[in-house]
């Protein structure tokens, strides 16, 4: 199979739309969802009657965890008054949130599919008295979390912190180096009017901030927020009728090894199988990437992706990001130009990252525009579940 035959070549991202985003937004999750979908459909140059596919992330049993506000897919369809020939609430197979929608469009199940992600984690944290809502509402641990919650691994921060500890131990990478990821992303966020935090952050402030779970401090953690992002995924053959489509060059998501946070064998290497798969589906190479939107639920996840995707070698991310020059404005790899989840807000599952990649490739990123951006890398999560995509200018 030639790389030009892969199904994702038949797909474009036609539209991106977002609701108001903030620590607390006084609109319901349902309202935020409809705000984002309406914006995305208009952004695509389409009308609601063109939409025939719906997908929300996540769906299924975890759709209604505290702070997860997608709601009910049928309720959203009813509100939109549309007919769908394809629907999905994605839990497993999430590698990238638009993966399922892309496959549906590529195989003719739908022409224009909307996929959305709505969070009210900012409000949920506030309602819980300032404590993160994640997991704390469960009366008893079950499944894989039964190994983690009872000993005190009560948050993803604690589950991921040992990855950072092991990585820094093996490669001698320092907090002083890694600080430049959140510091530089904050500088990008200052150029994004929709970012949650825009006040400049210094390395000293990072180093003196409170430790959450060593070696990860407050600024290594993304910002719970309220907001919704919607994407319109369309068949490439409809491009002539779209306002500003962006090509999907390659998509991949591989779950290899043991799908478990604590059982993952080599905690210094994450995302490599997914990265290898995505590069195998394209003639592009890492040096062709003009702008990178790499998942940053935590600083260390950005590190994984920088190395797994081949932007630098194993153990080299500390030196790569130190000083912020390479990943900042006019750097060789502008990174998370919307501020990322660390400053822009935890829109989750690479929705914020994908929306920004599309804007950059269209030349619509305003003050933070990377001149002449033609190829964007987008990655999602990191850990045993990991997705990566390459998007290119139409």
């Amino acid at each position: 199979v030639s790389v030009t035959d892969y199904l994702e070549k038949r797909v474009v991202i036609a539209g991106v739309g977002q609701s108001a985003i903030g620590r607390q937004v006084e609109r319901s999750g349902f309202q935020l969802t409809l705000d984002a979908i309406s914006a995305a459909v208009a952004d695509a140059g389409l009308t609601m009657d063109d939409i025939d596919g719906l997908s929300m992330f996540p769906g299924g049993g975890v759709a209604s965890l505290p702070g997860y506000a997608n709601g009910n897919l049928y309720e959203v369809q009813d509100a939109l008054r549309i007919t769908t020939t394809w629907r999905q609430g994605i839990v497993e197979g999430l590698s990238l949130p638009f993966y399922g929608a892309a496959m549906a469009v590529a195989t003719g199940q739908a022409r224009h599919a909307v996929v959305w992600r709505t969070v009210k984690e900012g409000s949920a944290a506030r309602a819980a008295g300032g404590r993160p809502a994640y997991g704390s509402a469960k009366p008893a641990a079950e499944g894989p979390l039964a190994w983690l919650l009872p000993v005190g691994m009560l948050s993803p921060v604690v589950q991921v912190a040992p990855y950072a500890a092991r990585y820094m131990h093996e490669y001698g990478v320092t907090r002083e180096q890694l600080a430049w990821i959140p510091v530089t992303q904050r500088a990008w966020a200052a150029l994004n009017p929709d970012a949650v935090y825009t006040k400049p952050l210094t390395v000293d402030e990072y180093l003196s901030s409170r430790m959450i779970s060593s070696p990860m401090c407050l600024y290594d953690c993304d910002v719970p927020c309220d907001g919704s992002t919607a994407l319109v995924v369309s068949a490439a053959e409809t491009a002539a009728g779209l306002r500003a489509p962006v090509r999907v060059e390659a998509l991949a998501g591989v779950v290899d090894g043991r799908p478990s946070w604590e059982q993952w064998q080599d905690m210094t290497r994450v995302g490599y199988a997914t990265a290898a798969a995505v590069w195998a589906r394209t003639a592009l190479r890492p040096s062709d990437v003009d702008v990178a939107q790499l998942y940053d639920g935590f600083t260390i996840e950005c590190v994984w992706w920088l190395e797994a995707m081949g932007f630098c070698g194993p153990g080299e991310a500390g030196a790569f990001v130190a000083g912020g020059t390479r990943i900042g404005p006019s750097g060789e790899l502008p990174l998370n130009t919307w501020g990322g989840q660390l400053s822009g807000g935890r829109l989750h599952a690479a929705f914020g990252h994908t929306a920004e990649a599309v804007r950059q490739l269209r030349g619509e990123a305003g003050a933070r525009q990377v001149p002449g951006a033609e190829v964007a890398a987008v990655t999602n999560v990191g850990g045993y579940e990991a997705g990566a995509a390459l998007l290119t200018r139409w």
Binding site: P132, V158, H169, S213, S214, A273
Partner: protein, 114 residues
């Protein structure tokens, strides 16, 4: 698959010290260790750490298997630092290359629950 009993010391693969009070009654800080067992490839157990200040825990140190009372009347893994232990040679290199190189399929061979 059957549970397997492991009594020999383990080696700390990684460590974190939690400072955040996620729940009202949670006493912080506390150390958490991810422990591998050299004679049981693919077995890794997460537990509390006692016997040393949590900040003194280091990757590669040896720990003895144990348990302590946990939430809900259950016992949870609680490893005890082995005093005077020096990290064994090569411990830092534990954990093979390749993110995909999964451990043994003996996923059920975790430490037994009391």
């Amino acid at each position: 698959m059957e549970p397997a009993e492991i009594t020999e010391p383990g080696i700390v693969y990684s460590v974190t010290v939690n400072y955040q009070r996620w729940l009202p009654q949670l006493e912080v800080p506390f150390g958490l260790v991810l422990v591998d067992f050299p004679d049981h490839p693919g077995v890794r157990v997460v537990g509390r750490l006692r016997g040393c200040a949590p900040q003194d825990a280091v990757i590669g140190m040896a720990v003895a298997v144990g348990f302590e009372p946990g939430p809900g009347g259950f016992f949870i893994p609680s490893f005890r630092a082995i005093e005077g232990d020096e990290p064994p040679a090569g411990a830092a290199a534990a954990g093979g290359p390749g993110a995909g190189a999964a451990g043994s399929p003996g996923a059920a061979s975790k430490a037994p629950r009391p």
